[in-house]
Amino acid sequence: MNTADFDYVRKFVRDQAAIVLEPGKEYLVESRLLILARKEKIASIDELIKKLRSDPKNGLHRKVVDAMTTNETSFFRDIHPFEALRKSIIPELMARRAAQRQVNFWCGAASTGQEPYSVLMLIAEHFPELLKWDVKFIATDLCSEVLARSRAGCFSQLEVNRGLPASLLVKYFVRQGASWEIREDLRRRVEFREMNLVKDWPALPPLDIVFLRNVLIYFDVETKKTILAKARRLLRPGSYLLLGGAETTFNIDDAFEREVIDKTICYRVKQA
């Protein structure tokens, strides 16, 4: 891939999704575009880029942005945040919201849905009474294709092998041929929405727990600041923000304070 083509792709990927592709990442762009070219029955990457340049409204730009999005996810990813939810965060939340019996969760960049479904399984296992409350569970992602997969709640054997204990697989999934489908009662509890974190946000309710895990790493500092500020304004007092293990609010948005729960670092808005 020549420098001009790489620069063209990385500029519009940055404009559309704020994903930063440093020089040297040509291999990643090439490998993802090659898959897309084959899917779209386009002969080569050169040909694909020609089509992109010639017609900005042919829908290909959107597909390229989707292709460049890393959708790595797994059930109970990194396990410790889920332990923190079970041991501390959810019990505290339930105590705080007992009078209203209403809580709102949001998973930003939810990818193919493993994270929201993991949280729901955790609630069903350890806090079944919470499911009798008015619970809103919103999961968003930039990519319409992965959202469709999340909504379907259908996972391959490979996907359920990633982090999902056999006991939960048997209890909450139904085998459909070579795939596993999450139980209907859990699936319909999640509201999946398309949302680009770096564009205008749709209306979201006041939030009690926000998951923005392993997504800020793809953005520059200014974009991280903007996203964190928007999320902060949506958090109810005393609510929690959970980030990925390599992410922090430190030196980005100091209105948050760190709270360590066993092996998990979570963030809460500092109280005045």
Binding site: K25, Y27, I35, E72, I79, L158
Partner: protein, 281 residues
Amino acid sequence: MIDLASLIEQANELAPLSTSTVRLAELVGNPDCHLDDVAELIAFDQALTVKLLRAANSAASASAVPVGSAREAVTRMGTAQVLALAVAAGARPFLQTSVPAYGLDEGALWRHSVAAAVAIEIAPNFCLVEVPPEAFTAALLHDVGKLVMGRFLSPEILGFIQRAQEVDHLGQLEAESLLLNVHHGELGGLIAQHWHLPPPVVQGITYHHNPEQGLDVLCDLTYLANQVAKQIEAGLDGRKLDFSVDPAVAERLGLTPQALDNFCPIAASRYTQVSRRYNAV
């Protein structure tokens, strides 16, 4: 470019292990397993009985009195060894093949697998944790995913993987995950699942490069076996290779620095004896 669905399909199409081997794996993994049950199961599988007797009477195992029955073979070798040999007999035809995408010529994957099994054989002398019998099977099959993955790694994809390693300093596993959305450990785990091997074996194979994600002693042991096997092979080839074991794994397994120093030389010496036994299956 790689298609994840066809990769999974191919993993599921690998010829299965025999029913008696799978049953044996289940039996040996059961804490209440009795020698008689194992012997009885083997006795019903003539081909397996012949292979085990040949292995039990090979130079590494034989004593003055030759072994003449499945029961004697099980008593002499122990259920874990018997299972390892049964699995080895089933998987050897695949593991003997060359996998050029990983730089493995014919027989190289098999030698690596046997070296890993040898590491498990001597592990109880060095580790403070109990070594489950299924650990042999996981060690023998830990790289079986490379067989399927190798078929899909065109020069083009190999080039991307190499560049990911150079540019982003990723390991083989991380580069595979980034570019293919699956790594050879996960693919090996799928194959083991397709063969109906016990879940701890599946876990051990899946997480042999990243045992911290497996949360099972078998993942730590399979990781250790892989590291030791690389060291044995380097020694045989006259190459110098630094032996490193993740300190967290060493701690979980109760491996002292002294134990780690002694592990590889003893494993290498045992390998030269035991490889004959595995070659007999």
